[in-house]
Symmetry: C2
Subunit: 337 residues, 2 copies
């Protein structure tokens, strides 16, 4: 071990933080949440998890939290990765105008949603393959900062990178301050989410679990590269989420959060609840047409499971004092899918 | 933020560590390594990686290290997961003696290696499925501590849990002390290695990447469980290792270590070397028949790549002062495969 200025600096910082925390003992860790049952339940659970004398104590290595992304940490109307597909297609069509005449690219570029709905999954996979695959990992990663630098939400009229839900960012911080290791477990592409996970959520890319393509190893000019093939690896949704959480972490999450839309998070929340010992599950309900969006599930499956299993249902309208860092309003007043 | 005794305790510990490090400035972090070029190269690389003023500096979030397990962190003659398969089969045969008459179980129980070699991969997969699959994840995990509590190495005549290579455990600690995040990337089963990764290597189970079966979600008495199916998920070897490292971590390792035997680590080491910026690759050569084992590759591929690409070749005989925490000697003097 060498004499390390970094080590001394760390100690000074930690000591300063300890002293500072005495002065801030009454600071609210979740200021963007209203004083409702949901907030009280979260504060209770997390403080007990970190308190060795509490019945709700959880050993530090078991303090695992997993969060869905689309609709849980940022808006999903429209899917932001869908905006990326469109942005890529526009660029590709500038180089190759024939794309504008060929399906399913024509439909996507013309925003012809009825055609895409009609053609279903096959058309979507073709669009994803054309924009995400058949290139090196490095080439793909180079597109992402450019996209996130420029992308705006079509109705909220704000930069995508400003649209993390503020109450959830506070919750991620609060969990980490209390010794939780926070992961994102998204149906979106792992590589896509990794490009903004640190910046928007303070989550290291290695803590992002998501959908994947299949990677092949290739040599390019003698250098070992990962090649993104057009073959889907994992579509990280529904019952796949518990399996991918196990593969990635090897432990059941003690805290899991998802949202109402497609039932995509039910199995992750049930898996968390099935752990031996204390756990908490959060389900975000999009019921705020004025500040964000309002939508329901046809079969009401997520809310039904939440009520049956005593999950915390978070009403964006009632439980959140504010939704984004900066106030936004819909430009059209009409939800766009 | 609440007033936290844990926070104060952390500060005191960090300060104590900083002060203590002044006193230990000359302590050798790798005492089980001889004073050879390999050791000097490792010390140089790691110290530069942590030094912001050095050309070899690596940003903290890029200090990723990946280690193969079998033959790199513990012996692979015989494969320890193979010993687990045999132990499980013995237990199963006590309950169901007909196994002793049915292939490939009979051959395994009779240690009839020629039959198993002849039948090849199909027989091996049948043995793995019978001992690792068609049960819940919890049931499988319950077998592992029992096995590791009892298992001994057949020729080294020592508990398996005492057979971590001491020089490598020191290296893992040294890397972590210098801000590296250490992962295991094994061809063995991820769940198998996770059972001992913390205890033997100080590696949290979430930092273990390995081979997997395919998991299904099942309800057992209303509780969400992962079910281990007999279908192979990933065989984490050769060119699969870079892909699984990317899926798990999302970054290229700046430090990677593997060993000579089957060429299984070549692609991981090449992937590490392909990162932009400083990196180091280590290849362990098993050339110590007296203290461990001596074996070579038929095609010499790993050593050939090491020489061509300037990887550090570690001679167990010459570079390691000792191999295990406690001295061991072969009981038979003959290598067993």
């Amino acid at each position: 071990m060498t004499l390390s200025p970094r080590r001394i600096a760390l100690a000074v910082i930690a000591l300063w933080a300890a002293i500072a925390s005495i002065g801030c003992a009454t600071t609210d860790p979740l200021p963007s949440w209203n004083q409702t049952d949901a907030k009280r339940a979260i504060l209770d659970f997390v403080e007990q998890a970190a308190d060795p004398l509490s019945d709700g104590y959880i050993a530090p290595e078991e303090r695992i939290a997993t969060f869905d992304n689309d609709g849980t940490l940022w808006p999903e109307r429209p899917l932001i990765q869908g905006l990326f597909v469109l942005a890529r297609l526009e660029e590709m069509a500038m180089r190759d105008p024939s794309l504008r005449q060929r399906q399913p690219f024509k439909a996507a570029l013309d925003r012809d949603l009825s055609y895409l709905h009609e053609q279903g999954e096959e058309a979507i996979l073709k669009l994803v393959a054309a924009t995400h695959a058949d290139m090196s990992q490095e080439e793909f990663e180079a597109f992402l900062p450019v996209f996130f630098e420029q992308a705006n939400h079509p109705t909220l009229k704000a930069p995508i990178t400003s649209l993390a839900y503020k109450p959830m960012v506070e919750l991620l911080d609060f969990l980490r301050e209390n010794g939780f290791e926070v992961y994102i477990c998204s149906g979106g592409g792992a590589d896509f989410v990794r490009a903004i996970s640190e910046r928007m959520y303070g989550v290291d890319p290695s803590n992002v679990i998501g959908s994947t393509l299949t990677y092949a190893q290739r040599d390019v000019a003698g250098r070992s590269m990962l090649w993104r093939t057009a073959e889907l690896g994992t579509f990280n949704d529904k019952a796949v989420k518990p399996a991918s959480i196990h593969e990635h972490i090897g432990k059941r999450p003690a805290f899991a959060a998802g949202n109402v839309r497609s039932g995509g998070d039910i199995e992750m929340l049930r898996y968390s609840q099935g752990r031996m010992g204390p756990s908490m599950q959060l389900l975000i309900n999009h019921d705020d047409a004025g500040r964000e969006f309002e939508y329901v599930e046809d079969d009401n499956a997520s809310l039904g499971q939440a009520k049956q299993n005593d999950w915390i249902i978070v009403s964006m309208q009632h439980d959140w004092r504010r939704i984004f860092s900066e106030p936004t309003t819909h430009n059209t007043g009409r939800d766009e899918e």
